[in-house]
Each structure stands twice: as structure tokens, then as C-alpha cells.
């Protein structure tokens, strides 16, 4: 008995040694900068002179700055809209693709998933091209089918700029959600469907009453993950509009990097980062709470 105890003790020590390098790198790349950012958000600092403590001033200025509020709103709007769209589309695709068996199904899944693996920066450029007013695919397509009146300068128009970017984000993220939901659907025992079929329920009824309730935990996980990713919208917006036209697609990441690295106002940027962190975490908690509910065992 004591021997076993001793053994598990040594393996725990080895475990810590195995764990240590990873923890050190995480410490360096995440913990220290995050704590520093918190401290910095209470300081005034231009990057060269000695920083001085100013209390909550950076936060107060941030909340009074219309551009900060605008970019905060845009960040939330973008993240929530693209997540909602992505989850709905992903779930729909999973439902459809689930019915196709064998090679056919796997080819569909592979293609529909493919946007997820493309680098976001390149996706952004691709769609700049897609939306381009003169040479772009979209306007040319509209002309081709005789809807020339609908053509627009998509990314410069104040009514469409944000929506166009959101659609790209949905285009990119739906495949992952589809795949996650699909994989969970496969774990549902066949017998459940069979009994449902005997009761005379069609496929979409089965989906509504059996599949969706059973894969709810995965839907929740996918939603939370997607939301977290969508908040980091820097690449897409940076390559597509750089925050323009005007401040229309300005988000916190864009605003922050400008304030810090163009204007050298590190304290304010840090405060923005702090506010942003709270908003991101709050919305993730909110989503978890909204999608709460019982889990079914099967």
C-alpha cells in the first residue's frame, strides 16, 4: 500500500516536470501580458516616458469616446450576428448532409467544410474581389440576370458594408459547426429513429423532436466556440474595409491597434482591451445561460 502511494507520488512529480515547459510558455505569452494590460489600463503611457497612474481615467475617457462605443457596438453586433447565422446554417447543413450516406455524404461534408481551413486574411481578400463594384462577381452576376438596379458599392455603402462582412464570416464558420453537429448526430442510436419512424414521423419531425434535443450540448459548445472566435474579427475587417467607410465597420481590435500603435496611447488602448474582455466573457456567459437546459442521456 505504501509502495503504491510512493509510486503515484513520483509519477505526480514527473507529471509536474512534464507540465512545466508548457505552463512557462503560457505564463509568458498569456498570463504576464494580461496582468500587465490590466495594470497599464490604469496608467498613462506613451511608450517612452515613465508611466504614471491615473486611476480610472482611461476607462472614463473610453466610455465617453463615441468612436469607442461605436466600435464596441460593432464588435458585439458582428460577433452575435455571425455566430447566430453560422450556427443556424451549420445546423441546417448538418441536418441535410446527415441523410446522405457513404462517399456522397463525405464529399459534401468535405466541400462544405473547406472554407473553415482557409486563412481568414485570404478569405477577406477573396471577398473584396467578390464585392468589388466594377469587376466583382456579385455585381456582374446581378447584371447578368438583369437586376442591374440592385448593384451597389457593397463595401462602401453604409447600409451593406457590415452585413457583407458578416455574410463572409458566416460563409467561413458554418462548415465547422456542420461537422461538429454531424459527428454528434452520428452517435445517436439508430433505434431511436426507428421507433420514431414507426410512429409515422417524417425526417424533419424526427430532427425536431429527437436530433436537436439530443445534440443540444454540442450546439451550445459550437455556439460558445464560434462566438469566441468571431469576436476576434481583426483579419476579416482589416483586409476587407479596415474599419471604413468612416467608422462604420470599426471594431475594438481595429480601434485598439490604431490607438496604441499609431497614436502611441498605450493606456487608453489597454483600457479598451479590458472593456472588450469583459464584454466577450459576459456575452459567452449569457449565451451559455440562454441555451441552458437539461441534457438527455442516451
Amino acid at each position: 500500500m505504501t509502495k503504491i502511494k510512493w509510486k503515484s507520488h513520483t509519477s505526480a512529480v514527473m507529471g509536474m516536470i512534464f507540465l512545466l515547459p508548457a505552463l512557462l510558455v503560457i505564463m509568458y505569452s498569456t498570463v504576464i501580458p494580461f496582468v500587465w494590460n490590466m495594470i497599464l489600463s490604469f496608467q498613462k503611457w506613451d511608450g517612452f516616458n515613465k508611466p504614471s497612474f491615473v486611476g480610472f481615467e482611461n476607462y472614463i475617457t473610453a466610455f465617453k469616446d463615441p468612436l469607442v462605443l461605436k466600435s464596441l457596438w460593432n464588435s458585439v453586433y458582428f460577433a452575435v450576428a455571425s455566430t447566430a447565422g453560422g450556427v443556424i446554417l451549420g445546423l441546417l447543413l448538418a441536418t441535410l448532409v446527415f441523410k446522405l450516406v457513404g462517399k456522397e455524404g463525405s464529399i459534401f461534408r468535405l466541400i462544405l467544410f473547406s472554407p473553415a481551413m482557409l486563412p481568414t486574411a485570404v478569405v477577406g481578400l477573396m471577398f473584396v474581389f467578390f464585392y468589388n463594384p466594377e469587376m466583382g462577381l456579385l455585381n456582374n452576376f446581378l447584371k447578368l440576370i438583369g437586376l442591374e438596379s440592385l448593384t451597389k458599392v457593397w463595401l462602401q455603402d453604409k447600409n451593406t458594408a457590415m452585413i457583407c462582412i458578416i455574410l463572409v464570416a458566416i460563409w467561413k464558420c458554418a462548415g465547422t459547426i456542420m461537422l461538429l453537429c454531424f459527428a454528434t448526430m452520428q452517435t445517436i442510436p439508430e433505434t431511436l429513429y426507428e421507433s420514431c419512424e414507426l410512429d409515422g414521423a417524417g425526417y424533419f419531425k424526427q430532427v425536431r423532436y429527437i436530433t436537436y434535443p439530443l445534440i443540444k450540448p454540442m450546439i451550445l459548445l459550437a455556439t460558445v466556440n464560434t462566438l469566441g472566435t468571431q469576436y476576434k474579427t481583426f483579419d476579416l475587417i482589416f483586409t476587407m474595409t479596415q474599419g471604413g467607410p468612416g467608422d462604420l465597420t470599426y471594431t475594438i481590435p481595429i480601434n485598439m491597434t490604431k490607438v496604441a500603435f499609431t497614436y502611441g496611447n498605450f493606456g487608453s488602448a489597454a483600457a479598451m482591451g479590458g472593456i472588450f474582455t469583459v464584454v466577450v466573457i459576459a456575452s459567452i456567459v449569457l449565451v451559455r445561460w440562454m441555451l441552458r437546459g437539461e441534457e438527455y442521456e442516451y
Binding site: 514527473m14 507540465l19 503560457i26 447543413l93 441523410k99 467544410f113 472554407p115 459548445l221 476576434k232 491597434t257
Partner: protein
């Protein structure tokens, strides 16, 4: 009769699903194919023939992008940065994941959870001090300034996938090796490592795809440096060359081709890993 009717409606349902999915497939693939086709057209041809295949293939677009716009140089930079990042991440995460799954580290679940929560922090609240730290350590503009943070930021998911995988290895195998006199390290090296190819492949792909296109940190860290990674190089190219679509699309294709190739070669592992880690078994 009834069964026949059901069979029929099942068939028409599948047909309906096919049609809907084909529409989605077209809208997924067409933008990508369009970029590919445009990369092979001279700008003259592009303006006259937007939609279809090029009549003569304009390889000079690729040459222009690769040499004149230095995309080739950036490509090499990206290969170095991402290559080292992936390799070191795999080593660190495999060790850590093994420790959290199989060695009796106290509070393993709590440690995993805290690592995960740390990655939930938006990078916006990290990058600025990170920039100051790298410049204080005199690393600004070096490969290390990209590689070390990339490793740290990607570790949580990598450790998680490894840990889930190691949990599926029966404890008996490890105990047997221990009884045979293997130390923890040689158990890991000789018994566990040969088994972990699937999880390693999954992680390698996820890491590669994640960092190959990273733009935010690269654009900040390398803003004053002559070193550029591929995504950064392409964005700079766009901003300098405006509407020179042919070479631009060629440059985009250069960044896409390794991704697509890598993905197609490894999609089995990729999809298994992506879903295996998340689905309860």
C-alpha cells in the same frame, strides 16, 4: 402500399436534399475557383472575360507575385515560423497532455480548465504588453517574436486534444511498462509515443491551419521590420498594387495551395480529431 409510399417520399426527400446541398456547394466553391481562374488570366483578358476559363494561361502572374512582390521570400518566412511553432507546440503539449491524463498531477481538471479559460481571453487584451515585452527583450523583428507567442496561444487546444487522446489509452499498458522497470520518461517515449500518431496529426493540422494565416500579431510585431510572413506580405501587396487582380489572385493562391494540399492529404485525421475531441464517446 404504405411502405411503398414511404420509400417514394424518402427518395424524393433525398433528391431535395441533394439539390439544396448542391446550391450550397456552388456558393462555397465558386468564390475560390474564381480566384484561381483569375490568377491565370492576363489583366486584359480578365476585363473581357470575367466568368470563364482563360484562353491562354498567364503564368507570369505567379512569377510576378513570387519574385517581384517578394511573395516567395515571405513564403519561406512563413514556413520557418509555422514549422518551428508546430513542432515545439506538439512536443510541449504532448508532454503536458500526458501529464494531465496519466500522471497523477493533483487537480488535473482544474489545471486544464484554467489553461482553457486563459485562451478565452481575447488577444486584444494581450498583444499590446506582448509587444512591449518583445521589444524589451530585444526580440522585435525576429522569428522568435512570432514563434514564442504563437506556441503559447495555441497550447490550450493542443493539450486538450492530446489529453483526451491519452485518456483512451488503457492504464494497464502504462502500468505494464512501469512494472517492466521503465521510468516515466521512457514509458512515454517507448510505449505512448508510438501510439499517438492520430492525435499528433490532428494537432499538427490544426496548428498549421491556425498559424499559417495569422495576421493580427504579425502585423503589429513586424510593422517596423523587413521580415514579413505570407499573410502580411499579401495584405501589403494589396495595399500597394490596388487593382492588379491577376498577380493578386496568384499571391492568394500561393498562400492557399499548401493549405488545400495539406488539408486534402490529412482530412481523415483532421475531421476525426476535430470531432473526436468534442463528442462524448
Amino acid at each position: 402500399m404504405n411502405i411503398k409510399k414511404m420509400k417514394l417520399s424518402e427518395k424524393s426527400l433525398i433528391m431535395f436534399i441533394r439539390i439544396v446541398l448542391v446550391i450550397f456547394v456552388i456558393s462555397t466553391l465558386y468564390p475560390i475557383i474564381f480566384v484561381l481562374l483569375t490568377s491565370l488570366k492576363t489583366s486584359n483578358e480578365f476585363y473581357n472575360n470575367i466568368w470563364f476559363f482563360p484562353k491562354e494561361i498567364a503564368w507570369q502572374n505567379y512569377q510576378y507575385a513570387w519574385v517581384t512582390a517578394s511573395i516567395g521570400k515571405y513564403f519561406l518566412n512563413s514556413v520557418i515560423v509555422v514549422g518551428i511553432t508546430v513542432f515545439v507546440s506538439l512536443v510541449l503539449a504532448a508532454l503536458a497532455g500526458y501529464a494531465l491524463a496519466k500522471l497523477n498531477v493533483p487537480k488535473a481538471d482544474l489545471i486544464m480548465l484554467s489553461i482553457f479559460l486563459l485562451t478565452m481571453l481575447p488577444s486584444e487584451s494581450i498583444i499590446m504588453p506582448m509587444y512591449i515585452m518583445t521589444s524589451k527583450l530585444k526580440m522585435t523583428g525576429t522569428y522568435g517574436a512570432l514563434i514564442i507567442p504563437y506556441i503559447g496561444w495555441g497550447l490550450a487546444l493542443t493539450i486538450y486534444i492530446f489529453r483526451n487522446f491519452f485518456k483512451t489509452i488503457p492504464m494497464e499498458i502504462i502500468e505494464a511498462a512501469r512494472i517492466d522497470g521503465c521510468g516515466e520518461f521512457s514509458t512515454f517515449l517507448k510505449v505512448v509515443m508510438p501510439m499517438m500518431l492520430p492525435a499528433t496529426a490532428t494537432n499538427a493540422i490544426l496548428l498549421f491551419l491556425g498559424w499559417w494565416g495569422e495576421l493580427l500579431w504579425a502585423s503589429i510585431e513586424l510593422s517596423t521590420s523587413s521580415i514579413k510572413t505570407l499573410p502580411l506580405g499579401i495584405t501589403a501587396f494589396v495595399q500597394s498594387s490596388g487593382t492588379n487582380w491577376g498577380p493578386l489572385c496568384a499571391a492568394s493562391c500561393i498562400i492557399l495551395i499548401p493549405v488545400v494540399g495539406f488539408f486534402l492529404l490529412t482530412q481523415k485525421y483532421f475531421i476525426a480529431g476535430l470531432t473526436g475531441g468534442a463528442v462524448k464517446g
